[in-house]
Symmetry: C2
Protein backbone atom coordinates (compact mmCIF):
# COMPACT_ATOMS: atom_id res chain seq x y z
CA UNK A 1 0.00 0.00 0.00
CA UNK A 2 1.32 3.43 -1.00
CA UNK A 3 2.32 6.25 1.35
CA UNK A 4 -0.46 7.85 3.40
CA UNK A 5 -2.56 10.41 1.58
CA UNK A 6 -1.12 13.89 1.32
CA UNK A 7 -3.04 15.91 3.86
CA UNK A 8 -2.83 19.31 2.26
CA UNK A 9 -5.98 21.22 1.61
CA UNK A 10 -7.53 20.74 -1.79
CA UNK A 11 -8.93 23.83 -3.55
CA UNK A 12 -12.71 23.83 -3.74
CA UNK A 13 -12.58 24.22 -7.49
CA UNK A 14 -10.63 21.00 -7.66
CA UNK A 15 -12.94 19.18 -5.28
CA UNK A 16 -15.82 20.10 -7.56
CA UNK A 17 -14.05 18.51 -10.52
CA UNK A 18 -12.87 15.32 -8.89
CA UNK A 19 -16.32 13.68 -9.12
CA UNK A 20 -16.34 14.40 -12.84
CA UNK A 21 -12.97 12.77 -13.31
CA UNK A 22 -14.12 9.88 -11.19
CA UNK A 23 -17.15 9.29 -13.30
CA UNK A 24 -15.17 9.38 -16.53
CA UNK A 25 -12.55 7.06 -15.10
CA UNK A 26 -15.25 4.63 -14.07
CA UNK A 27 -16.50 4.58 -17.66
CA UNK A 28 -13.01 3.98 -18.95
CA UNK A 29 -12.54 1.20 -16.48
CA UNK A 30 -15.73 -0.45 -17.67
CA UNK A 31 -14.44 -0.16 -21.21
CA UNK A 32 -11.35 -2.12 -20.13
CA UNK A 33 -9.11 0.89 -20.57
CA UNK A 34 -6.57 0.75 -17.79
CA UNK A 35 -4.41 3.73 -18.56
CA UNK A 36 -5.22 7.33 -19.44
CA UNK A 37 -3.23 10.50 -20.07
CA UNK A 38 -4.07 13.89 -18.64
CA UNK A 39 -4.78 14.95 -22.21
CA UNK A 40 -7.25 12.13 -22.71
CA UNK A 41 -8.99 12.72 -19.42
CA UNK A 42 -9.11 16.44 -20.08
CA UNK A 43 -10.74 15.89 -23.44
CA UNK A 44 -13.46 13.74 -21.94
CA UNK A 45 -14.03 16.10 -19.05
CA UNK A 46 -14.04 19.17 -21.25
CA UNK A 47 -11.26 20.94 -19.40
CA UNK A 48 -7.64 21.91 -19.85
CA UNK A 49 -5.04 19.14 -19.55
CA UNK A 50 -2.81 21.17 -17.28
CA UNK A 51 -5.74 21.68 -14.97
CA UNK A 52 -6.26 17.93 -14.81
CA UNK A 53 -2.65 17.36 -13.91
CA UNK A 54 -2.69 20.06 -11.27
CA UNK A 55 -5.92 18.73 -9.82
CA UNK A 56 -4.56 15.21 -9.63
CA UNK A 57 -1.29 16.41 -8.19
CA UNK A 58 -3.17 17.51 -5.07
CA UNK A 59 -3.82 13.86 -4.40
CA UNK A 60 -0.19 12.94 -4.76
CA UNK A 61 2.08 11.88 -7.59
CA UNK A 62 0.11 8.99 -8.89
CA UNK A 63 0.95 9.23 -12.57
CA UNK A 64 3.82 7.74 -14.52
CA UNK A 65 5.80 10.13 -16.68
CA UNK A 66 5.80 9.22 -20.29
CA UNK A 67 2.86 6.92 -19.74
CA UNK A 68 -0.10 8.43 -17.95
CA UNK A 69 -2.30 7.40 -15.05
CA UNK A 70 -3.43 3.94 -14.08
CA UNK A 71 -7.20 4.14 -14.26
CA UNK A 72 -7.97 1.75 -11.45
CA UNK A 73 -5.47 3.23 -9.08
CA UNK A 74 -6.62 6.77 -9.83
CA UNK A 75 -10.20 5.76 -9.16
CA UNK A 76 -9.10 4.35 -5.84
CA UNK A 77 -7.24 7.52 -4.90
CA UNK A 78 -10.02 9.90 -5.87
CA UNK A 79 -12.59 7.81 -4.05
CA UNK A 80 -10.44 7.80 -0.98
CA UNK A 81 -9.96 11.54 -1.10
CA UNK A 82 -13.67 12.16 -1.52
CA UNK A 83 -14.46 9.86 1.33
CA UNK A 84 -16.21 7.36 -0.92
CA UNK A 85 -14.56 4.32 0.55
CA UNK A 86 -17.58 3.68 2.60
CA UNK A 87 -21.26 4.50 2.14
CA UNK A 88 -22.85 7.74 3.25
CA UNK A 89 -26.50 7.05 3.94
CA UNK A 90 -28.70 10.08 3.35
CA UNK A 91 -32.02 11.06 4.82
CA UNK A 92 -34.58 12.76 2.59
CA UNK A 93 -37.00 15.22 4.13
CA UNK A 94 -40.15 15.61 2.03
CA UNK A 95 -41.70 12.71 0.14
CA UNK A 96 -43.43 14.73 -2.55
CA UNK A 97 -42.82 14.86 -6.22
CA UNK A 98 -39.12 15.41 -5.96
CA UNK A 99 -38.43 13.47 -2.79
CA UNK A 100 -39.92 10.32 -4.27
CA UNK A 101 -38.10 10.76 -7.55
CA UNK A 102 -34.86 11.08 -5.63
CA UNK A 103 -35.53 8.11 -3.39
CA UNK A 104 -36.39 6.01 -6.40
CA UNK A 105 -33.34 7.07 -8.28
CA UNK A 106 -30.85 4.25 -8.54
CA UNK A 107 -27.95 6.61 -9.19
CA UNK A 108 -27.88 7.42 -5.51
CA UNK A 109 -27.11 4.07 -4.04
CA UNK A 110 -24.93 3.14 -6.99
CA UNK A 111 -22.56 5.86 -6.02
CA UNK A 112 -22.44 5.13 -2.34
CA UNK A 113 -25.35 7.18 -1.07
CA UNK A 114 -28.09 4.78 -0.02
CA UNK A 115 -31.34 6.28 1.16
CA UNK A 116 -31.20 5.74 4.90
CA UNK A 117 -34.63 7.19 5.40
CA UNK A 118 -37.32 9.43 3.98
CA UNK A 119 -39.71 11.42 6.15
CA UNK A 120 -42.71 13.67 5.63
CA UNK A 121 -45.29 15.58 7.69
CA UNK A 122 -48.23 14.46 5.61
CA UNK A 123 -49.79 11.30 7.12
CA UNK A 124 -51.09 10.40 3.69
CA UNK A 125 -47.50 9.78 2.66
CA UNK A 126 -46.62 7.50 5.56
CA UNK A 127 -45.73 3.99 4.64
CA UNK A 128 -45.61 4.74 0.97
CA UNK A 129 -42.77 2.58 -0.21
CA UNK A 130 -40.26 4.06 -2.61
CA UNK A 131 -37.51 1.83 -3.84
CA UNK A 132 -37.47 -0.21 -0.68
CA UNK A 133 -37.61 2.70 1.71
CA UNK A 134 -40.79 3.41 3.61
CA UNK A 135 -41.83 6.99 4.23
CA UNK A 136 -41.79 7.72 7.95
CA UNK A 137 -43.32 10.50 10.06
CA UNK A 138 -41.27 13.62 10.54
CA UNK A 139 -41.03 12.90 14.27
CA UNK A 140 -38.83 9.94 13.59
CA UNK A 141 -36.23 12.00 11.78
CA UNK A 142 -33.98 12.41 14.74
CA UNK A 143 -34.17 8.78 15.68
CA UNK A 144 -33.41 7.65 12.13
CA UNK A 145 -30.42 9.94 11.87
CA UNK A 146 -29.05 8.69 15.13
CA UNK A 147 -29.64 5.02 14.66
CA UNK A 148 -28.15 4.97 11.19
CA UNK A 149 -25.47 7.52 11.96
CA UNK A 150 -26.51 9.68 9.03
CA UNK A 151 -24.58 12.86 8.34
CA UNK A 152 -26.07 13.98 5.04
CA UNK A 153 -29.61 15.31 4.71
CA UNK A 154 -31.60 16.21 1.61
CA UNK A 155 -34.21 18.95 1.83
CA UNK A 156 -37.06 18.34 -0.62
CA UNK A 157 -39.91 20.21 1.03
CA UNK A 158 -41.68 23.38 -0.11
CA UNK A 159 -39.69 26.59 0.33
CA UNK A 160 -41.77 27.66 3.30
CA UNK A 161 -40.80 24.55 5.25
CA UNK A 162 -37.19 24.34 4.12
CA UNK A 163 -35.64 26.27 6.99
CA UNK A 164 -37.59 24.23 9.51
CA UNK A 165 -36.46 21.04 7.85
CA UNK A 166 -32.86 22.20 7.90
CA UNK A 167 -33.12 23.12 11.57
CA UNK A 168 -34.47 19.69 12.37
CA UNK A 169 -31.70 18.02 10.42
CA UNK A 170 -29.03 20.03 12.16
CA UNK A 171 -30.54 19.40 15.56
CA UNK A 172 -30.58 15.69 14.78
CA UNK A 173 -26.87 15.78 14.06
CA UNK A 174 -26.66 16.06 10.30
CA UNK A 175 -23.64 18.09 9.19
CA UNK A 176 -24.15 18.34 5.43
CA UNK A 177 -27.30 19.39 3.64
CA UNK A 178 -28.30 19.26 0.01
CA UNK A 179 -31.08 21.77 -0.47
CA UNK A 180 -33.53 21.69 -3.37
CA UNK A 181 -35.81 24.42 -2.12
CA UNK A 182 -35.22 27.83 -3.66
CA UNK A 183 -34.29 29.52 -0.41
CA UNK A 184 -31.06 30.35 1.34
CA UNK A 185 -30.78 28.20 4.41
CA UNK A 186 -29.20 29.64 7.48
CA UNK A 187 -27.21 27.08 9.43
CA UNK A 188 -24.62 27.10 12.21
CA UNK A 189 -20.95 27.33 11.28
CA UNK A 190 -19.48 23.97 10.55
CA UNK A 191 -22.50 22.75 8.63
CA UNK A 192 -21.99 22.44 4.89
CA UNK A 193 -24.90 23.35 2.64
CA UNK A 194 -25.15 22.98 -1.09
CA UNK A 195 -28.11 24.20 -3.05
CA UNK A 196 -29.54 22.88 -6.28
CA UNK A 197 -31.92 25.39 -7.75
CA UNK A 198 -33.45 24.59 -11.09
CA UNK A 199 -34.93 28.03 -11.52
CA UNK A 200 -31.49 29.54 -11.11
CA UNK A 201 -30.07 27.25 -13.76
CA UNK A 202 -32.84 28.07 -16.18
CA UNK A 203 -32.49 31.77 -15.54
CA UNK A 204 -28.81 31.61 -16.32
CA UNK A 205 -29.66 29.89 -19.59
CA UNK A 206 -32.26 32.55 -20.17
CA UNK A 207 -29.63 35.23 -19.76
CA UNK A 208 -27.53 33.64 -22.47
CA UNK A 209 -30.52 33.28 -24.74
CA UNK A 210 -31.48 36.87 -24.21
CA UNK A 211 -27.95 37.91 -24.93
CA UNK A 212 -27.91 35.86 -28.09
CA UNK A 213 -31.05 37.47 -29.41
CA UNK A 214 -29.82 40.95 -28.60
CA UNK A 215 -26.53 40.22 -30.29
CA UNK A 216 -28.33 38.92 -33.33
CA UNK A 217 -30.32 42.10 -33.62
CA UNK A 218 -27.23 44.25 -33.26
CA UNK A 219 -25.25 42.25 -35.79
CA UNK A 220 -23.01 40.40 -33.32
CA UNK A 221 -21.54 43.37 -31.51
CA UNK A 222 -20.56 41.27 -28.52
CA UNK A 223 -18.47 38.14 -28.29
CA UNK A 224 -20.02 34.93 -27.07
CA UNK A 225 -19.72 34.72 -23.31
CA UNK A 226 -17.74 31.97 -21.65
CA UNK A 227 -19.47 30.11 -18.91
CA UNK A 228 -18.39 29.68 -15.34
CA UNK A 229 -18.84 27.25 -12.54
CA UNK A 230 -20.66 24.38 -14.07
CA UNK A 231 -21.71 23.93 -17.63
CA UNK A 232 -20.11 25.58 -20.60
CA UNK A 233 -20.74 27.47 -23.76
CA UNK A 234 -18.70 25.08 -25.82
Amino acid sequence: MPPPPARRRIPDATVARLPIYLQILAEQSTAAIDNISSEGLAGLAGVNAAKVRKDLSYLGSYGTRGVGYDVGYLIYQIRRELGLNYDWPVIIVGAGNLGQALAGYGGFIDRGFPVGGIVDVDPAKFDVVVAGARVRPLDELSQIVESKDISIGVVAVPSSAAQDAADLLVKAGVTSILNFAPVILSVPVGITVRKVDLAVELQILSYHEQRRSVAQQNGQLQGAPADRGRGATA
Copy 2:
Protein backbone atom coordinates in the same frame (compact mmCIF):
# COMPACT_ATOMS: atom_id res chain seq x y z
CA MET B 1 -38.46 55.40 -18.35
CA PRO B 2 -34.75 55.51 -17.39
CA PRO B 3 -31.83 55.44 -19.81
CA PRO B 4 -31.40 52.29 -21.90
CA PRO B 5 -29.74 49.36 -20.17
CA ALA B 6 -25.98 49.46 -19.98
CA ARG B 7 -24.79 46.99 -22.60
CA ARG B 8 -21.52 45.98 -21.03
CA ARG B 9 -20.81 42.35 -20.47
CA ILE B 10 -21.77 40.99 -17.09
CA PRO B 11 -19.31 38.60 -15.39
CA ASP B 12 -20.55 35.04 -15.25
CA ALA B 13 -20.13 34.94 -11.50
CA THR B 14 -22.52 37.86 -11.25
CA VAL B 15 -25.02 36.33 -13.65
CA ALA B 16 -25.10 33.28 -11.43
CA ARG B 17 -26.00 35.41 -8.44
CA LEU B 18 -28.64 37.61 -10.02
CA PRO B 19 -31.33 34.90 -9.84
CA ILE B 20 -30.66 34.58 -6.12
CA TYR B 21 -31.09 38.29 -5.59
CA LEU B 22 -34.19 38.20 -7.74
CA GLN B 23 -35.76 35.49 -5.67
CA ILE B 24 -35.04 37.28 -2.41
CA LEU B 25 -36.35 40.54 -3.77
CA ALA B 26 -39.54 38.81 -4.85
CA GLU B 27 -40.01 37.57 -1.31
CA GLN B 28 -39.44 41.03 0.07
CA SER B 29 -41.90 42.45 -2.39
CA THR B 30 -44.51 39.94 -1.26
CA ALA B 31 -43.85 41.00 2.31
CA ALA B 32 -44.67 44.59 1.30
CA ILE B 33 -41.08 45.69 1.77
CA ASP B 34 -40.36 48.19 -0.95
CA ASN B 35 -36.83 49.21 -0.13
CA ILE B 36 -33.69 47.27 0.70
CA SER B 37 -30.06 48.10 1.36
CA SER B 38 -27.12 46.22 -0.08
CA GLU B 39 -26.37 45.13 3.46
CA GLY B 40 -29.83 43.71 3.92
CA LEU B 41 -29.84 41.94 0.59
CA ALA B 42 -26.37 40.59 1.24
CA GLY B 43 -27.45 39.18 4.57
CA LEU B 44 -30.36 37.36 3.02
CA ALA B 45 -28.31 36.09 0.11
CA GLY B 46 -25.44 35.03 2.30
CA VAL B 47 -22.83 37.08 0.52
CA ASN B 48 -20.69 40.14 1.02
CA ALA B 49 -22.44 43.54 0.79
CA ALA B 50 -19.78 44.98 -1.47
CA LYS B 51 -20.30 42.11 -3.83
CA VAL B 52 -23.99 42.86 -3.98
CA ARG B 53 -23.32 46.48 -4.82
CA LYS B 54 -20.81 45.63 -7.48
CA ASP B 55 -23.10 43.03 -8.98
CA LEU B 56 -25.99 45.47 -9.12
CA SER B 57 -23.77 48.19 -10.51
CA TYR B 58 -23.35 46.13 -13.67
CA LEU B 59 -27.01 46.72 -14.35
CA GLY B 60 -26.69 50.45 -13.87
CA SER B 61 -26.98 52.92 -11.02
CA TYR B 62 -30.35 51.96 -9.72
CA GLY B 63 -29.86 52.60 -6.02
CA THR B 64 -30.36 55.73 -3.97
CA ARG B 65 -27.46 56.75 -1.78
CA GLY B 66 -28.32 56.95 1.85
CA VAL B 67 -31.49 54.96 1.21
CA GLY B 68 -31.00 51.74 -0.67
CA TYR B 69 -32.64 50.07 -3.63
CA ASP B 70 -36.29 50.17 -4.62
CA VAL B 71 -37.34 46.54 -4.53
CA GLY B 72 -39.86 46.67 -7.34
CA TYR B 73 -37.61 48.58 -9.65
CA LEU B 74 -34.66 46.33 -8.96
CA ILE B 75 -36.80 43.28 -9.69
CA TYR B 76 -37.74 44.84 -12.99
CA GLN B 77 -34.15 45.57 -13.90
CA ILE B 78 -32.81 42.14 -12.99
CA ARG B 79 -35.63 40.44 -14.84
CA ARG B 80 -34.92 42.51 -17.88
CA GLU B 81 -31.22 41.74 -17.77
CA LEU B 82 -31.87 38.01 -17.40
CA GLY B 83 -34.31 38.06 -20.27
CA LEU B 84 -37.23 37.17 -18.05
CA ASN B 85 -39.57 39.75 -19.47
CA TYR B 86 -41.14 37.10 -21.60
CA ASP B 87 -41.57 33.38 -21.20
CA TRP B 88 -39.04 30.82 -22.34
CA PRO B 89 -40.87 27.61 -23.07
CA VAL B 90 -38.75 24.52 -22.48
CA ILE B 91 -38.89 21.07 -23.99
CA ILE B 92 -38.16 18.09 -21.79
CA VAL B 93 -36.61 14.99 -23.33
CA GLY B 94 -37.32 11.89 -21.28
CA ALA B 95 -40.56 11.35 -19.40
CA GLY B 96 -39.26 9.03 -16.73
CA ASN B 97 -38.99 9.54 -13.04
CA LEU B 98 -37.24 12.85 -13.26
CA GLY B 99 -38.81 14.17 -16.45
CA GLN B 100 -42.28 13.78 -15.00
CA ALA B 101 -41.30 15.34 -11.70
CA LEU B 102 -39.91 18.29 -13.58
CA ALA B 103 -42.91 18.67 -15.85
CA GLY B 104 -45.22 18.53 -12.88
CA TYR B 105 -43.23 21.04 -10.94
CA GLY B 106 -45.09 24.31 -10.68
CA GLY B 107 -41.93 26.27 -9.96
CA PHE B 108 -41.07 26.10 -13.63
CA ILE B 109 -43.98 27.93 -15.12
CA ASP B 110 -44.15 30.27 -12.14
CA ARG B 111 -40.80 31.61 -13.07
CA GLY B 112 -41.42 32.00 -16.75
CA PHE B 113 -40.42 28.59 -18.04
CA PRO B 114 -43.59 26.82 -19.15
CA VAL B 115 -43.23 23.27 -20.36
CA GLY B 116 -43.65 23.62 -24.10
CA GLY B 117 -43.42 19.90 -24.63
CA ILE B 118 -42.19 16.61 -23.24
CA VAL B 119 -41.07 13.71 -25.41
CA ASP B 120 -39.94 10.11 -24.92
CA VAL B 121 -38.99 7.09 -27.00
CA ASP B 122 -41.03 4.67 -24.97
CA PRO B 123 -44.51 4.25 -26.50
CA ALA B 124 -45.80 3.27 -23.08
CA LYS B 125 -45.22 6.86 -22.03
CA PHE B 126 -47.05 8.47 -24.93
CA ASP B 127 -50.09 10.47 -24.03
CA VAL B 128 -49.38 10.30 -20.33
CA VAL B 129 -50.52 13.68 -19.14
CA VAL B 130 -48.29 15.54 -16.70
CA ALA B 131 -49.52 18.88 -15.44
CA GLY B 132 -51.41 19.62 -18.61
CA ALA B 133 -48.67 18.53 -20.97
CA ARG B 134 -49.02 15.33 -22.91
CA VAL B 135 -45.97 13.16 -23.56
CA ARG B 136 -45.23 12.98 -27.28
CA PRO B 137 -43.11 10.64 -29.38
CA LEU B 138 -39.48 11.55 -29.82
CA ASP B 139 -40.03 12.06 -33.56
CA GLU B 140 -42.10 15.10 -32.87
CA LEU B 141 -39.32 16.85 -31.00
CA SER B 142 -38.17 18.88 -33.95
CA GLN B 143 -41.65 19.91 -34.90
CA ILE B 144 -42.51 20.97 -31.35
CA VAL B 145 -39.36 23.03 -31.04
CA GLU B 146 -40.05 24.75 -34.29
CA SER B 147 -43.73 25.41 -33.86
CA LYS B 148 -43.31 26.80 -30.35
CA ASP B 149 -40.03 28.49 -31.09
CA ILE B 150 -38.33 26.78 -28.14
CA SER B 151 -34.72 27.55 -27.42
CA ILE B 152 -34.18 25.73 -24.12
CA GLY B 153 -34.09 21.95 -23.82
CA VAL B 154 -33.93 19.74 -20.75
CA VAL B 155 -32.19 16.38 -20.97
CA ALA B 156 -33.74 13.86 -18.56
CA VAL B 157 -32.90 10.57 -20.23
CA PRO B 158 -30.49 7.84 -19.09
CA SER B 159 -26.82 8.66 -19.50
CA SER B 160 -26.44 6.39 -22.47
CA ALA B 161 -29.04 8.35 -24.42
CA ALA B 162 -28.05 11.81 -23.26
CA GLN B 163 -25.69 12.66 -26.10
CA ASP B 164 -28.25 11.52 -28.66
CA ALA B 165 -30.90 13.62 -27.00
CA ALA B 166 -28.61 16.63 -27.01
CA ASP B 167 -27.80 16.13 -30.68
CA LEU B 168 -31.48 15.99 -31.52
CA LEU B 169 -32.15 19.14 -29.54
CA VAL B 170 -29.36 21.01 -31.23
CA LYS B 171 -30.43 19.84 -34.65
CA ALA B 172 -33.94 21.00 -33.90
CA GLY B 173 -32.67 24.47 -33.14
CA VAL B 174 -32.36 24.54 -29.38
CA THR B 175 -29.46 26.72 -28.22
CA SER B 176 -29.44 26.11 -24.47
CA ILE B 177 -29.49 22.76 -22.70
CA LEU B 178 -29.98 21.84 -19.09
CA ASN B 179 -28.53 18.38 -18.62
CA PHE B 180 -29.43 16.07 -15.75
CA ALA B 181 -27.60 13.03 -17.00
CA PRO B 182 -24.18 12.44 -15.44
CA VAL B 183 -22.25 12.77 -18.67
CA ILE B 184 -20.37 15.56 -20.37
CA LEU B 185 -22.28 16.58 -23.46
CA SER B 186 -20.37 17.64 -26.50
CA VAL B 187 -22.12 20.36 -28.43
CA PRO B 188 -21.23 22.82 -31.19
CA VAL B 189 -19.81 26.20 -30.22
CA GLY B 190 -22.51 28.70 -29.49
CA ILE B 191 -24.68 26.25 -27.61
CA THR B 192 -24.85 26.79 -23.86
CA VAL B 193 -24.96 23.72 -21.67
CA ARG B 194 -25.45 23.57 -17.93
CA LYS B 195 -25.28 20.36 -16.00
CA VAL B 196 -27.03 19.40 -12.80
CA ASP B 197 -25.46 16.31 -11.32
CA LEU B 198 -26.76 15.10 -7.99
CA ALA B 199 -24.01 12.58 -7.54
CA VAL B 200 -21.44 15.33 -7.91
CA GLU B 201 -23.17 17.42 -5.27
CA LEU B 202 -23.33 14.52 -2.87
CA GLN B 203 -19.72 13.64 -3.47
CA ILE B 204 -18.68 17.17 -2.67
CA LEU B 205 -20.61 16.91 0.58
CA SER B 206 -18.96 13.58 1.17
CA TYR B 207 -15.57 15.19 0.80
CA HIS B 208 -16.40 17.69 3.51
CA GLU B 209 -17.75 14.97 5.76
CA GLN B 210 -14.67 12.88 5.27
CA ARG B 211 -12.54 15.90 6.01
CA ARG B 212 -14.48 16.60 9.15
CA SER B 213 -14.04 13.11 10.49
CA VAL B 214 -10.33 13.11 9.72
CA ALA B 215 -9.96 16.50 11.41
CA GLN B 216 -11.79 15.23 14.44
CA GLN B 217 -9.44 12.30 14.77
CA ASN B 218 -6.41 14.54 14.44
CA GLY B 219 -7.67 17.07 16.93
CA GLN B 220 -8.67 19.76 14.46
CA LEU B 221 -5.35 20.22 12.70
CA GLN B 222 -6.96 21.87 9.70
CA GLY B 223 -9.23 24.88 9.45
CA ALA B 224 -12.73 24.43 8.11
CA PRO B 225 -12.72 24.85 4.35
CA ALA B 226 -14.65 27.63 2.71
CA ASP B 227 -16.99 26.57 -0.04
CA ARG B 228 -17.00 27.73 -3.56
CA GLY B 229 -19.43 28.10 -6.39
CA ARG B 230 -22.75 27.29 -4.91
CA GLY B 231 -23.53 26.40 -1.38
CA ALA B 232 -21.56 27.38 1.66
CA THR B 233 -20.00 26.14 4.82
CA ALA B 234 -21.66 28.80 6.89
